[in-house]
Symmetry: C3
Subunit: 155 residues, 3 copies
């Protein structure tokens, strides 16, 4: 039976991890690349489609280049978290409103996350983004849309 | 004045109930019918429009047949929970991205939920889904869209 | 080091503030103007675009007149909260589905909130709504959409 102290700590950890994913969305929206990178551990990684950005250096490339104006607006929901001491895993859904070449894009997917307590703060150790669709709003996410993905931040 | 123990228990209960509604979305997305059914109590019920699926047997029909590919993607927000011992009620909003006959559909509504602690885990005793609209994305939710509803899972 | 009691209180405060923003959405949806106003302190204010509604009297104008049928459906996500005793600040994202003159509108933005514990309940002291776009769904939020805003509730 966990102690009162342990139970409170676990609740606080879960709250902090939920806010981590929220702060990520706000920082991306603000185009604050360095703030986004700082939400990851030094060896943290972002994976989406078949691309991987690992460590602060590569993450800086991803979040620097991809943050064209207007920045994508991401909305996180359905967060499930499993704590294991100073590590945790979680899954959360995401909806995204983006603009590419002046056109409205809509996207949805989910993150498989690994979190780590790092110098007293929870950070992303790894985010694996599964995109269901990333499509022009005018086209929608019907059958033709499957397999589409977000723009390559390095292009 | 509730005890420390009672207050912690209440916070944990609320967290678990929030995750219950999140796990529901993830299981529906995965087409994991049996996992969805297991989130309901044995006598649990789902009601939407004028249809009712009550008990694991009927729920299996609903979640088996309705989970055509691609499965609906649901996003839960605005969760309010009222605890009452081993029972609780709650209301949460939902947005849904679906595909019917190859076309993108968008939906929104809210659940009036009743939860029950069942063998140590919170489960759905009843979900009453109020759909505001369930429409082709290309048509939108303007005046013409009122009264539409989700497809009958038994058809 | 905060006490056990203080830590539990902080967690409860955060939960209550999250539910405050959820109850706001449900009350707006129900067109329950007086219930919405009661979620603000007596001197509470709502600001959006360059308009400001301050105090229950002006808020009644805003929430009375703007709640044409169908009412806007708002969905809150990405909530970050900073507690400071009986005051708190927070930021949360919002997506909105509205209908104007029979047409489907979609909107997104975020609230910069100030909360205050008022007679034992958390209420809004100030909501500053930043709208990214408020556009016909058929048009989307592409480059042409920037600078659009919600309808004036007093017109």
């Amino acid at each position: 039976m966990p102690s009162i102290e342990d139970r409170i700590q676990a609740i606080e950890d879960r709250d902090e991890i939920r806010e981590l994913t929220a702060r990520y969305c706000h920082a991306v929206r603000d185009g604050a690349g360095e703030a986004v990178v700082d939400l990851f551990t030094e060896d943290g990684a972002l994976e989406m489609n078949d691309r991987k950005f690992e460590g602060h250096g590569e993450l800086r490339q991803a979040y620097g280049a991809s943050m064209r104006q207007p920045t994508p607006r991401a909305f996180i929901q359905n967060h499930v978290i499993d704590l294991d001491g100073d590590r945790a895993t979680g899954q959360c859904s995401v909806e995204i409103r983006a603009v590419e070449k002046g056109r409205a894009f809509t996207a949805a997917g989910h993150y498989d996350d690994t979190y780590r307590r790092d110098n007293g703060s929870w950070r992303f150790a790894r985010r694996l983004l599964h995109i269901y669709h990333w499509v022009p709003l005018a086209d929608g996410w019907g059958d033709d849309a499957e397999g589409t993905g977000p723009p390559n931040p390095l292009e």
